[in-house]
Amino acid sequence: MALIKLKKGFDINLKGKISDEKVIDASSSETYAIVPDDFTGVIPRMEKKEGEKVAAGEPLYHDKNDEKVKVTSPVSGTLKQVVRGDRRKILAVIIEPDNEGRAVAFDTRENPKALLLESGLWPMLRQRPYDIVPTSNARPRDIFITAFDSAPLAPSLKLVLGDDEKYLNKAVEVLSTMTDGKVYLGCSPTEQFTDTGAVTNTFSGPHPAGNAGVQVANIKPVNKGEVVWTLDVVTAARIGKLFETGKMDYSTVVAVNGPGVASPAYIKTTMGCTLHSLLDSRLCDNGKEPRIISGNVFTGVKESIEGYLHAPYRHVTVINEINKKDEFMGWASLSPKKYSIYRVFTSWLMGRHKEVDLDAKLNGGERAIVLSGEYDRMLPMDIYAEFLIKAIIAFDIDKMEQLGIYEVAPEDFALAEFADTSKLELQRIVREGLDKMRAEMC
């Protein structure tokens, strides 16, 4: 077991932490939803029609280009609606639960890969390059499991797992059969997972130390032509449980917190539940418009209270949309409430690790990149982030490849996007770059 110390990055001490680690049960959710956009790279083709009955673990749709990749229903019930947007793009698949508890029983003697594909666990894996759901014919060089989430206010994954930690052993055993390389597990110094059978490394340092991309880059970076898989420890435990019991377990513990939550808590629920069932009466009543985020403040998705818990997240954050409206000459402000990683505001007097209440304001207009080294100091990888971003904007494929686009995912740039003085949408730029790159290469 190796200790890898990361220095670059930054931890934001956001207000609204959970003080009580007790897990409470969520109120019942009227509907559940699967959002296809959560499974990047999978183009949905429906298998069920509206009004049809589905059991938990039964496929809702499969990938248009790769029929074996299936997304399954988290609950037993009726397919209520397929919400479509522009050009009939499927935005969400909504299921009304019937509480009959019908669930598909899987045959655990099946070939592990076939079972992963059949059970709908496959789309919860990610592959580098391109940060997409792996294609069904891929065989990864190595598999990386992240055992902690370093994003602001992120839940303790050990707590989310609870008793299911015991299935990790099985998961590692199953995953080992799918790669010629190794299965790695990246732990934080405070939360260790031992005896899992995986090659365990400990990562110390600020966010983004918990990001899969950062861990891969610091263990064995992805080279051109190579494929690695990444997943978090919760998905790993689900895999283990599936192979032990033959049942898919979609239940999860979710951290509901942030400056906009009056009573932050860990809540037990099922994947795809409504945010209403989690946030019911928990929001701060401060007269400010809340921004509800399914996920963390860096990579999460903005949702209304009618929205749903997105599949990749065990986290719902609520911040205020705007804390202070029409701020007069904000650029000259001496207010210690203006939070910055630079010492250009008086907030540095309070210390940069003080608990802060940040809103969704952009705090400035979009500009050309001016300050140098801003992105690099937020990305603990051997990559010239700024040059890579410029290559992506210019869509210079050769340069992108040379500068290491295969190693990155949008989430790796989230912290840089937060810190960016020029307010560029780095994650969107990287996502588009990866998509174009993939279209070009395939």
């Binding site: 904000g330 250009v344 952009l362 705090n363 207009g365 010239y384 989230a414 937060f418």
Partner: protein, 386 residues
Amino acid sequence: MDKIKPHFQEGGKLSKLESVYDGMETFLFTPNTTSRSGVHIHDSNDMKRTMITVVVALVPCLLFAMYNIGFQHFKAIGMEATFGQMFLFGLLAMLPVIVVSYVVGLGIEFIGAQIHHKEIQEGFLVTGILIPLIVPINTPLWMTAVATAFAVIFAKEIFGGTGMNIFNVALITRAFLFFAYPSEMSGDSAFVKLDSAFGYGGGNVVDGFSGATPLGEVATNFDHFSTSTLDAFIGLIPGSPGETSMIAILIGAAILLFTGIASWRVMLSVFAGGLAMGAVAHAFATPETLYNAAHLDPLTQVCLGGFAFAAVFMATDPVTGARTKIGQYIYGFLIGVFAILIRVYNGGYPEGAMLAVLLMNAFAPLIDYCVVQVNINRRAKRAKAQ
């Protein structure tokens, strides 16, 4: 502001002033725009605050410049004056230059922004204050205006505005003046204001007065050179307004470094390069040498002329400088070396800091290219090893 907004939007009566309105609005009120995609929270620091921080860092130089202009003036006309009188004279002398610099530069930026339907960029906030600080005080205002216009249009706008320029805009202004009107830019009469400012001050120059800068003296009249390193450090000597006082510059440097806006790597390595080259020149100076400046010891070298100002405020411009960490060391060091090299061994130019920075501006992309190429090669090698 919201009430008059419709007039400025497309189709409104004043839509031609859209950018100006937008500029004023964002100047007065921090926009309420919230993040649409990507991260939900953003750092409070934006380009406005960044630029204002640099301006704040320049304030000590500006204040000292005003005082020194008055000090030199009253010294030249042999009159006793109080601190207040000196400062007032300097203020009156500097104000027109600052106004001209901002009006011309910002005017062009506003027009440029409107043509491209873009937001007004903040870059000129800093350039506009740098120009009065590096242009000799006796430069006719129309020359400053022409030079500023030239620099903003040809060194910045044609490249795409703030963040896209290759050469430092303020230095292009200075270089334009230097090469277009050489007689006004050097010699004994350029750096000390002798006539009155708005009717204030003025008088007959005392006998035996020379307004030459110390470096000018070194180049042409070395026998008379009497400026001590301490004088140069404090800065009550003739020179371009903002460049004389090492103390004021160091205060500015402290602000830039503390806030994290400027790169300490660049700053440090410029001084290192200057000291190194100064030491080399000093070591090779023989009593017969024609290069007078070689006789100066390295410490005096970096205290004199525009060297320190260039190191702190010009070389650290992130847009025109090297952007990689290793590149910044190389870039800064070479600026220091070239500045002293030009100063000592080129008889034509008593000061080399400006030219050294401009020269290295041109080479910064090459330095970065080489540094990034090392990373690219390492990645390629790693892939091959598989």
